[in-house]
Symmetry: C2
Subunit: 437 residues, 2 copies
């Protein structure tokens, strides 16, 4: 791809939507200049408003296979743990082909929802569990490449079935018992990824699945390689009880104790995390990733978002189980759940009291920070990952430059996303075949 | 329109989705027979699954004009009451033309979301507040007619600005101080509505706006005419405090005391209603309408849905402020908010423990009951109000007949609704002009 100059009717800047903004994008797909450049656009986008592409900081693509399933409770109410059983049944049934199809499907739906980069928290490693073949790692990378989404593959360590318990059943497909073998695998994978669209990070599944000292060593290795580190933290009360019983500390206390927390560390969920430990983690620069649709579907509970924000927390968002893939719905329900719980409006606000801008930051630059990406802003040095919103969409009718973002996030239909660009190339909708072909 | 026979690939019956179901629809738009009729279809719908059209039991269409507005909180968090101030500013600015445009826009968006019938809780009566001209009543009816949606216009009584306080400012556009004049107006309107697509019910705005004895007389008049009666109940704690201070009873206690509660009475919101009075209202046959997206946007609080269901409550759904118009999102968050609050899955279930069927009932036949409509089922005697779901939509990929409904409600994209029929006619998308025209 050669250098291009993109000009939409409106473009999101740190100062709101502005007309007449040109983006110079280099052949590698990076924005090199943005503003009133006085250039002739090579790509005009009339009746479109450009936003930074959404960054999905937490996904398990294969769980797309559960859509519409596990929603029957004939023996009374279910829980996270009954859902996990259904998920393990899916895990046991997957082969390479089916995993590819599900992952590609999920990534394509993400693009259609304006998501241009995904942090795939990948713990489903083995097609042949006995051989620990890691065959599924490259399957996921291939699915992302073929879908055209930017991928940060978070290679995940999973050592035990629960605190102090061996892996069992479907969990054997997750097994990474040997740290040296894990890192050999990661380093080999790094060499095979698809150029600028793909990079690697690591994850510890959770402090259920990884003992604290293994987590600490994982971080040391990751830091040497400049990789981010993610883990699930305190999504369920049972995890807290198990850690306290075994280690005398909650998962977040263990994390604060054993890790050097900084911007390269992301704790996912933190649904039941106590405010003081949460504040300590955030003050050190850690990221928190919330997954409103999944946490709601799973009945996890209501996270203490006001305390997180009071501690200066940079929250990002993930589609997690991919039960529904809709970044605007994630954004609005991040705020709405807190409005319901606190009986007040305007919980997630920026310094000017704007909800729309605060939610956009969660869905873009905070996610990019958590994944170690130069993305999430329309600014020089960032990837040209862009969402083009349809200014003629009926669900936005009545917009002006000041209300457009809130109308889109809180009131827009899913199909108000008109086009999506990754690294300057149109990734969604797929180009139609030329006439006659 | 002449009689027709409709056959889709799948059709929702009380027994799930079935293939080969034919619907005979008479010239008036009613289903007269449904099943394997052995007829030649006049309208085939391949790759479509038919559901009963959604019934939106509570809407204020004009509030579509607030989309994207009132989401800035520069002086700290807002509340329902700061939102109401923004709404009153819109009310003060509307004229006949603008009200028509906003209402028609809202009704068209409802159709696109699969909503075939709306209960428009209409309290914005007067273009000329001093003359009490009721000019806006027919504007709303015209907008619904032109959009093609089935309308139950709930003509609303509004007598005081708050408990014991006179109307003021924008509220003067709501004023219906004289009961005799109100009913003359209602009876005249009944004669002018648009045939089988439009009917009338009444509402009392709330026990803030209508004293209990006026409410009781309103019900007597409504019962004589076979009309349903709706009112807002206990959306905000302040309303409860004001009623207790003035009358020594909560709004729901007043309602149970002063009304003959039956299937023709619908209480909207009941966010803060105490369980015993709630159970009494439901045991008498009353309906409760919840509005998950609006209640979340406004920060109302979390309603006691488990207690409502335990009391046999038939819950219906409304899009209320129309901040976003998405009936599937209303359905899933009716359930999801309760999962978050109770940390368990499967709160709204039918007798078989199925969440999808319970939520569909809320969005269809429970709403039809609340509005007094023969609708909300695909069955003889009901209007042929239908939603055609796109079986090839990517967001539903992987469906089977058992999972399709849950996949659509919990995981479908907005544009998985392919076509919508009202009284047997296609109401959305609008027919394209013939080639060359």
């Amino acid at each position: 791809m050669s250098e291009q100059v993109v000009e939409a009717e409106l473009t999101w800047t740190e100062d709101g939507f502005r007309p007449g903004v040109q983006l110079a994008v280099d052949a590698a797909g990076r924005i090199v200049a943005a503003g009133e450049l006085g250039r002739v656009p090579s790509r005009r986008l009339p009746r479109r408003a450009l936003l930074p592409g959404f960054v999905n900081a937490h996904s398990h693509a294969f769980q797309r296979g559960l859509r519409g399933r596990g929603e029957r409770f004939p023996r009374g109410a279910g829980s996270f743990w009954t859902w996990r059983q259904a998920m393990y049944e899916l895990v046991a049934a997957l082969d390479r082909q089916r995993l590819y199809e599900l992952s590609r499907q999920a990534f394509a739906e993400m693009l259609a929802a304006g998501i241009t980069a995904v942090g795939e928290f990948h713990y489903l490693h083995h097609e042949d569990a006995a051989a620990r073949d890691h065959a599924f790692d490259e399957v996921v990378a291939a699915a992302a490449r073929d879908a055209g989404i930017r991928l940060v593959l978070l290679a995940t360590v999973y050592q035990q079935g629960d605190v102090g318990r061996p892996l069992a059943g479907a969990q054997l497909r997750f097994a990474t018992p040997d740290a040296a073998a894990f890192w050999r695998r990661v380093d080999r994978l790094a060499a095979r990824l698809d150029g600028p669209l793909q990079s690697l990070g690591v994850a510890a599944h959770s402090l259920r699945a990884v003992p604290p000292e293994v987590l600490a060593e994982l971080q040391r290795q990751a830091r040497q390689r400049g990789m981010v580190l993610h883990l699930h933290v305190e999504e369920q009360r049972r995890e807290i009880e198990a850690c306290v019983a075994r280690y005398g500390r909650t998962p977040m206390e263990l994390l604060n104790h054993h890790l050097e927390v900084d911007a390269a560390v992301t704790a996912v969920h933190c649904t039941h995390t106590a405010a003081p430990e949460m504040a300590r983690f955030l003050a050190a620069g850690g990221n928190v990733c919330l997954c409103p649709l999944t946490e709601a579907n799973l009945g996890d509970g209501i996270a203490g978002v006001p305390a997180m924000l009071a501690a200066g927390g940079r929250l990002c968002l993930g589609t997690d189980s991919n039960a529904r893939i809709a970044m605007c719905e994630e954004m609005r329900w991040l705020e709405y759940v807190q409005r319901l719980a606190g009986e007040r409006r305007g919980v997630c606000c920026d310094g000017d009291g704007r909800v729309d801008r605060a939610l956009l930051a969660c869905a873009t630059r905070h996610g990019a920070r958590a994944l170690g990406l130069r993305a999430g802003r329309i600014a020089p040095g960032c990837w040209a990952d862009l969402v083009a919103v349809d200014l003629d969409h009926p669900s936005l009718a009545g917009w002006d430059r000041d209300t457009l973002l809130a109308a889109f996030i809180l009131g827009g239909r899913d199909d108000a996303v008109a086009e999506v660009f990754v690294g300057g190339r149109r990734a969604w909708p797929a180009a139609r075949p030329a006439a006659g072909s």
